[in-house]
Amino acid sequence: MKRTYFGGLILLVSMGLAMLGPIITVILWAFAVKWRYPHLLPTEWGMKYWFAMLGRETVITPILTSLALTSIATTTAALICWPAAYAFARLKFPGRQLLLFSFIAAQAVPKFALFVSIAVIFLKLGLVGNFWGVVVVQMLSAVLFMIWIPTAAFRGIPPALEEAAFDLGASRLRVFLFITLPQAMPALAASYVLAFVSILFEVDSALLIGAPTVTTMPLLLMSLSAQVIVQEAAVLCVLIWVPCFVLLLLSRRFMTARGIAQGFGA
C-alpha cells in the first residue's frame, strides 16, 4: 500500500513538473521585469511589459483582427451547423448517416495539406491576404465541434419532452424554441467555446491564407517569440490564453472521452 502511495506521489510530482512547468515558466516571464541566468526566479517583478505591449498598435491590431475574425467565423459556423445538427439528430432524410460520417472522414485529411490546396486556389483568385478568405477557411475548423457536439446533444433530449409540449398545444416552432433549444443550450455553448478557442489560436490557415496582410494574434505571437525580449510573447500568451482557459474549463463537461473521441471521429 505504501509503495503505491509513494509511486503515486512520484508520478504526481513528475507529471506536475512536465504538465505545468512550461506554462508556469511563461507566466513567470510575463510578470518578470528582470530574470537573468542563473537565477531560478525573476529578480525583479512587475507589469512593465504589459503596459508596453498594450500601448502598441502593432500588438492591438492583430488581437482585434483575431477577435473579429474568430467571432465572425465561429458565429457563422454556428448558424449553419446547429440547424444541421438538429436535422442529423431528429429528421429522417436520405444519406443522413453518410453525410454525418463525411464530417468525420474530412478530419482524416491533414489540415495543413488541405490549406495548401486552398491557398493555391486563393492565390489564383487573389483571395490570399483577404480577411473574408481567412474567415471562410477558418470556419472549417469549427465545423467539427459544431456538428458533433450539438448532434449528440439534440439526440440526448428525450423525445417525450418535445412531445409533451406539442401535446399541450405548442406549435413545432414553439416546441423547438422553448423546449429543444434551451435543453440543448449548454452543449451548444460548449461547442461554441471549443470552436472559438480552436479558431482563435489557429496558425495554419492564418499563415497560409492570411499572411502577410492579415496578421492574426497567433502570427504575432510567432514573430514575437523569435524576439530578444522574452516578456513580450509571454505577456501575449498569458493575456489571450488565460481567459480561454477559463472558458474551456466551464465547458469541460463536454470534453469527455466520448466527446473528444467523437471529435476526432472515434
Partner: protein, 353 residues
C-alpha cells in the same frame, strides 16, 4: 365522449394495434391493460395524436380527430418519464400550456396556483424539476395537463417508475381527483391490480387486439377469452380433452355438457373447495397471506393446483385433500365455450347447476 373505431397501426410490417375499438363515456376512467408490447401505449399515442394510425378513427365529442395533430387535440398526456422540462420551474412547467394559448399573465398565475393547490404542491412552485421527488414530479406532470382542462386526460404508465408504496398513494389521489373533476381519463398500465383499483372499465389488450372491455368485476368473474382469464387474477389451468360430456380435471372425471374436443379448464384458486368426491392432491406448500391462506397442492400426475382458503381451514403440509371447482371456465382456441357452476364427477348422480 371518446370513440375509438377500428384503429390499426403497423410498424415496418409488424402490427402494433389491430382493429381496436372501444368508447369512453364522460367522466369515466378507462384503463388500457395488457402485457408489455401489447400495443396499449401505441394506442394511447394514437389517441393523443402523437402517432398517426394507418386506418380507423378517433372521435372526441363526435368530432373526428383522426387527421388532427396532437397540438390541436383537446387531449393532454402524462408521460411515464414525467417529461418535465428541466430548464423551467414547476410553475413555468404548469403554465406552459396556458402561455401557448396566449392567456393573460394574471390568469396564468391564478390558474397555475389553483392547480398546484389541487395536487398539493403550492409550496413547490418555484422549484426546479431536479429538486422534486419522483412522486412530486409526476404530480407536477399531472398538474401541467389538468391546467389546460383537457377533454380527455391520457396517462401512459404514469406511476410505473415509482416504488410500490408511493404508487398506491398516488393511485388513490388520482382516483379522488378524477372523480371530483369529472375527468374523462384513459390510463395505460401493465399492472392488473392498478387497473382493477382505478378503472371504471378496463380494456384488456393482447397482441395489438382488444380482447375484452368491461368493469373490473366482470372481467374477473367472466373473462371472455383465455388471454383475459390468464392475465387478470390467478387461475388454475388444466388442459384436457372433452369426450362425451366429460373431461379429466386433475385426474377426476368431471361432467361437462359441452361439445367434444380440446379444452382448457380454468378455475380461480378461491373457487376451489374440498369435497369428498373431488380430485385428490397432496398439500406441498401453505402460505399464510394474512386474510387468506394460499395452499399449493400436487396431484398424482404431478400437476400443481392452488387453493386460497379461509385461514381457519388451512390444511397441514403433506395431507391429501380432495377438491372440486365451484366455477369452471372452459376455453377452446382461446374463446370461452362454457362456464360450469359446481360441476360434479361423472359417476355421481345429479345434474350440474
Amino acid at each position: 365522449m371518446l370513440q375509438i373505431d377500428a384503429i390499426t397501426k403497423t410498424y415496418q410490417g409488424t402490427p402494433a394495434v389491430r382493429d381496436a375499438s372501444f368508447t369512453v363515456a364522460r367522466g369515466e376512467l378507462v384503463c388500457l391493460l395488457g402485457p408489455s408490447g401489447c400495443g396499449k401505449s401505441t394506442l394511447l399515442r394514437i389517441i393523443s395524436g402523437l402517432t398517426d394510425c394507418d386506418s380507423g378513427s378517433v372521435r372526441i365529442e363526435g368530432v373526428d380527430m383522426t387527421a388532427t395533430q396532437a397540438n390541436r387535440r383537446p387531449t393532454a398526456m402524462v408521460f411515464q418519464s414525467h417529461a418535465l422540462w428541466s430548464h423551467m420551474s414547476v410553475a413555468q412547467n404548469v403554465g406552459f400550456g396556458l402561455r401557448v394559448r396566449g392567456l393573460p399573465k394574471a390568469e396564468i398565475a391564478a390558474k397555475t396556483a389553483a392547480v398546484l393547490d389541487l395536487v398539493g404542491l403550492q409550496a413547490f412552485a418555484k422549484r426546479l424539476p431536479a429538486e422534486l421527488s419522483g412522486g412530486q414530479a409526476q404530480r407536477v406532470a399531472l398538474a401541467r395537463c389538468l391546467v389546460v382542462e383537457p377533454k380527455v386526460l391520457l396517462m401512459d404508465e404514469p406511476f410505473s417508475a415509482l416504488d410500490a408504496h408511493l404508487r398506491k398513494g398516488l393511485r388513490e389521489e388520482l382516483k379522488a381527483l378524477q372523480g371530483r373533476l369529472d375527468l374523462t381519463t384513459i390510463f395505460v398500465t401493465h399492472d392488473q391490480e392498478e387497473a382493477m383499483e382505478l378503472a371504471d372499465r378496463i380494456v384488456v389488450m393482447q397482441g395489438g387486439r382488444v380482447e375484452q372491455v368491461g368493469p373490473p368485476g366482470v372481467l374477473y368473474q367472466n373473462p371472455s377469452t383465455l388471454g383475459v382469464a390468464q392475465f387478470i387474477g390467478a387461475m388454475n389451468t388444466c388442459t384436457t380433452t372433452l369426450r362425451q360430456g366429460a373431461a379429466d380435471w386433475y385426474g377426476l372425471d368431471l361432467r361437462l355438457p359441452l361439445p367434444d374436443g380440446e379444452v382448457a379448464l380454468l378455475c380461480r384458486p378461491e373457487d376451489v373447495y374440498p369435497d369428498a368426491k373431488g380430485a385428490a392432491a397432496r398439500v406441498t406448500r401453505v402460505i399464510d397471506l394474512g386474510p387468506v391462506t394460499k395452499v399449493t397442492l400436487m396431484t398424482e400426475a404431478g400437476d400443481l393446483l392452488t387453493w386460497t382458503c379461509p385461514r381457519d381451514q388451512a390444511p397441514d403440509l403433506g395431507r391429501v385433500l380432495t377438491l372440486l371447482p365451484r366455477r369452471l371456465h372452459a376455453f377452446r382456441n382461446g374463446a370461452l365455450i362454457g362456464l360450469a357452476q359446481s360441476p360434479l364427477p361423472a359417476q355421481t348422480a345429479g345434474a350440474p347447476a
